[in-house]
Symmetry: C2
Subunit: 179 residues, 2 copies
């Protein structure tokens, strides 16, 4: 499976943005024909699901312009240039919820939209959480909620989680709690 089935014949950068770039690739298909592929290039992201010693999972509720609605998500953020994923995890958890994690374990690296974007998100489970003060960025407006595992189980059944990384992460937490 090491063969690249769609080598790029030529490409152009359509958009050079702040969060992502857009590239248009002309590729060669396995049958020899040419085709176009539109690709969103993203630096990658990190998300953290944690549980406090008294069984609370910190979640953030924020308005997402792309979706035009408020979403309930685990703390997450974009990777900065040169930043290790685990450092982003520590930073975003602290900034968005105030918590500092004594232990972080990577449970998955997932492509969020492989049909058109290269965004890869590293998902961590955090434990040994210490309370602190959130330090959100100037253009971030969010509220922190703390849910129990039981509330999360009910929320999954009611489709309360509309963010893919969050649905996956809380489901993993539940599966571990049950095993």
């Amino acid at each position: 499976m090491a063969v690249n089935h769609e080598p790029t014949l030529s490409k152009q950068t359509i958009y050079d943005g702040k969060i992502f770039n857009v590239e248009l690739h002309e590729v060669e298909l396995p049958d020899g024909n040419a085709s176009k592929r539109e690709v969103v290039k993203h630096p990658g992201a990190v998300a953290v699901v944690g549980m406090t010693d008294d069984g609370k999972i910190p979640l953030v509720r924020q308005f997402r312009k792309a979706t035009e609605e408020f979403l309930l998500e685990i703390p997450a953020g974009k990777r900065e240039a040169g930043e290790e994923a685990i450092s982003t995890a520590v930073r975003e958890l602290k900034e968005e919820t105030g918590y500092t994690a004594g232990h972080l374990e990577e449970i998955a690296q997932l492509y969020t939209s492989p049909g058109f974007a290269n965004e890869l998100i590293s998902i961590y489970i955090a434990s040994d959480l210490q309370v602190g003060v959130p330090q959100t960025e100037a253009d971030e407006f969010l509220t922190v909620e703390e849910w129990t595992l039981e509330e999360i189980r009910a929320g999954l059944n009611k489709q309360s989680f509309r963010d893919a990384k969050t649905a996956f992460a809380v489901q993993t937490l539940l599966a571990r709690a049950n095993s």
Copy 2:
């Protein structure tokens, strides 16, 4: 939570593509300041996790140009204009794996990358699968694999699933099998 915290003051379409468009919005933040939001507009997608009567889950392995690697995914595809999500589910399952589903149940509607894209993916569990012949599109090159639940459980532990919708869907299937 009905208040829109980031009303659009002005917007421009940066890119009008085949799979997605890109819009740049100038928005008003809750504190009154202006900010920019880059948004990928996508028509939405559908994905289907199914299990045959003899306990096999059809998966497709395909090269994804955006990620430059082969990914193992549940059958999925973009929604066509005016097409109901469940019709897309029936169509994509048939096209990519050949299976026809006697029953489809929506388990989630998830935003794949709410930080920058409006792609919403409807995920279905399919049952009563009938074997048929795949009918892939001209620029799709994929191979179908059939995994058992045990193989999927092991795969999740080994991080074999690098596609977010797939990781969520197979995890849901496992959770149901265990309950």
